[in-house]
Amino acid sequence: MSVLLNSDTKVLIQGMGREGRFHAGRMREYGTTVVAGVSPGAGGTERDGIPTYDTVAAAVDATGANASLIFVPAPGAADAILEAADAELSLVVCITEGIPVHDMLKVASVLAETGTTLIGPNCPGAITPGECKIGIMPGENFSKGPVGFVSRSGTLTYEIADALTRAGLGQSTCLGIGGDPVIGLPTPDAVRLLNEDPATEALVIVGEIGGSAEEKAAEYMRAFGKKPAVAFIAGRSAPPGKRMGHAGAIVSGGQGTAESKVRAFEEAGIPVATAPSEIPGLVKQALRA
């Protein structure tokens, strides 16, 4: 078991440019079933052995794809997400960075009325180690096991997955949900999925300054948590009013501080690591308790 993606997931790629093709190749090496590419105007051709279609609907009809990975540049990315939702794909992962927030507001509003789960945008993607990788993360840093992992940041996800793997702690599913202000699968929703997943025995929740998703996730775990969790918040030393790379990572008007997030987790009985290197030790303790 796992959440959102597994060995039965059939992936199509929207945006078969340089990046799309490169990562399609890496995903196949990892074992992901990549069934189609979508490039308007290139339908009927093949790229690197992957059949290409003009529309998502045509690709789904021909291949039975049930998930999509989007590399379409920012001006067209929201449209690509909506096309995937229109084709009733159950999972859409959007890697694209820099999508206007007004586009994402519309996307969020439409998706709320569909059965499509969006991961991202501006994210590394999701992986169920040993089964399926939909994203750009280096697969070799992940390993199969009992730890469910959700993170708002990209590279930090690799860093922590690598630390877990080295400590012998494999992962059930890792969800890199993205650092933008408006995203498809916010931390509380991702935490709920992992909390309900039978393959997950412990959770690692990696947040950042900005917004109040971590506080809401802590509240959820306090009320409904079925398994132990460990948290980490990036940006504790960031000054207010400065955006730390991610559009969502900013402390403004007293909102979104690291202190508020750490307090919320501690009140929910969830230990908070002060450095990524502490996470494996805390997970081991949590699993023993």
Binding site: P138, G154, L156, D162, E208, R236, S237, G245, I250, A275
Partner: protein, 403 residues
């Protein structure tokens, strides 16, 4: 809840032009860059005017950046006092001269993004003129909020409901609701991340008029906001950050002495925290982004080193798309060009880290295996060089690669 990225901030006079185009009433006004221009603007407008500093800062009124004048000579004197004034580090280069409103009461009206609800949020309060965050903290019940569906916009009934919930007198509701609907329209057409009229004046004759205006544009949308993008002003204090943005990475200057370069916003934030944990302070945030090539790393290192406060530099790369060998090549290029004036500490992990470490072998820098160790070393070296000590001999700049 409130989103404020690094948007393009418009001046009041620019934001008011945008509001006026949408049919929102604004006082007649003109920009002036000299006291003479202010006097002639006041003459043209006639009667009592407000002379207002145009700076990208809140609280300019308290700082003396807004003065009322009864006639052109008064406006000239006010402009003379305000132009060139320093408001929290910013020099006032222009003033906006506008007809003074006849104020009966003041409202707050604003639109921004509520990231938790993933909806736009329209806020209206009868406590106008104050910072809305202050009102939210002291009188939360005084702010009415509505979350329109972005596909439909702010509907007339939603705008009316906001007015009634905020306690707007019933004879003013139609006028205020109309401004709210139009303001929401501007929020959408300008790709704003924040749009405020604060205060929104109710005048003695019952008409409503925008007293001030604040418009921040989402920088991700500048590709389709050509006119507003052209209004962007780069402050002297933000020039390095702007240059970094042009090079494709994100840089934020901070006030410590350990320069930081990393890949990925979360990893860089954690690196800042690791420096904090080791008792030091970061001089900057710099994310080279994904897939950085040698030339980008070289440019990043040059930007970090151009900050005179930097006493050591910590480079923390976890390779995914970014390759360790590319990063290493960039560092070697910089060292070859001009040996850095401060010690470098590097931590390479992930894709091609091994190859990167081989490239760095024999270079004058310190290599550490983990983020924590590298941060501790960078903090230690920064202390040494800030005390004016020569570069430390122990541990010797290790042959990079040996952890």
């Amino acid at each position: 809840m409130l989103v404020s990225a690094t948007p393009v901030k418009l001046h009041e006079h620019q934001a008011k032009v945008v509001l006026a185009r949408a049919g929102i009433p604004i006082p007649q006004g003109r920009v002036a860059v000299t006291p003479d221009e202010a006097a002639s603007a006041a003459r043209e407008i006639g009667g009592r005017v407000a002379v207002k500093a145009q700076v990208h800062l809140g609280g300019r009124g308290k700082a003396g950046g807004i003065k009322l004048a009864d006639d052109p000579e008064g406006a000239r004197a006010a402009a003379r006092a305000i132009l060139g004034m320093d408001i929290r580090g910013l020099t006032v280069e222009k003033v906006y001269v506008e007809r003074a409103a006849t104020v009966r009461s003041e409202l707050y009206l604003g639109v921004t993004v509520d990231r938790d609800r993933r909806r736009p949020v329209v806020m209206l309060s009868t406590v106008g003129g104050m910072d809305i965050e202050e009102v939210a903290a002291t009188h939360p019940d005084k702010i009415a909020r509505g979350w329109p569906d972005p596909r439909l916009g702010l509907l007339p009934f939603e705008a009316r409901r906001l007015c009634f919930e905020a306690g707007v007198p019933k004879e003013r509701v139609a006028a205020v609701a109309q401004v709210a609907e139009r303001l929401y329209g501007v929020f959408v057409t300008t790709d704003a991340s924040l749009l405020e009229i604060n205060p929104l004046f109710v005048q003695e004759d019952g008409s409503v008029i925008a007293g001030d205006a604040k418009l921040d544009v989402d920088d991700n949308a500048l590709f389709r906001q050509i006119e507003l993008a052209g209004w962007k002003e780069v402050l002297a204090s933000e020039r390095l950050e702007e240059r970094a943005r042009e090079l494709g990475f994100s840089y934020v200057q901070l006030d410590g002495d350990v320069g930081i370069i990393g890949n990925g916003a979360g990893l860089v934030m954690s690196t800042l925290d690791a420096v904090g944990n080791a008792g030091g302070r970061a001089a900057n945030f710099l994310d080279v982004g994904g897939g950085a090539k040698a030339a980008v790393v070289k440019a990043a290192l040059e930007i970090v080193l151009s900050n005179a406060r930097v006493r050591s530099v910590l480079i923390n790369i976890f390779g995914g798309i970014t390759r360790g060998d590319e990063v290493a090549r960039g560092i070697v290029d910089v060292i070859k060009d001009r040996p850095p004036r401060v010690p470098l500490v590097i931590r390479l992990s992930g894709t091609e880290a091994e190859a990167g470490r081989r490239i760095l072998e024999g270079q004058p820098l310190v290599s550490r295996e983990t983020m924590d160790e590298a941060a501790a070393e960078a903090v230690r070296l920064a202390r040494h060089s800030s005390q004016g000590a020569p570069p430390p001999s122990t541990p010797a700049p290790t042959p990079a690669g040996a952890p």
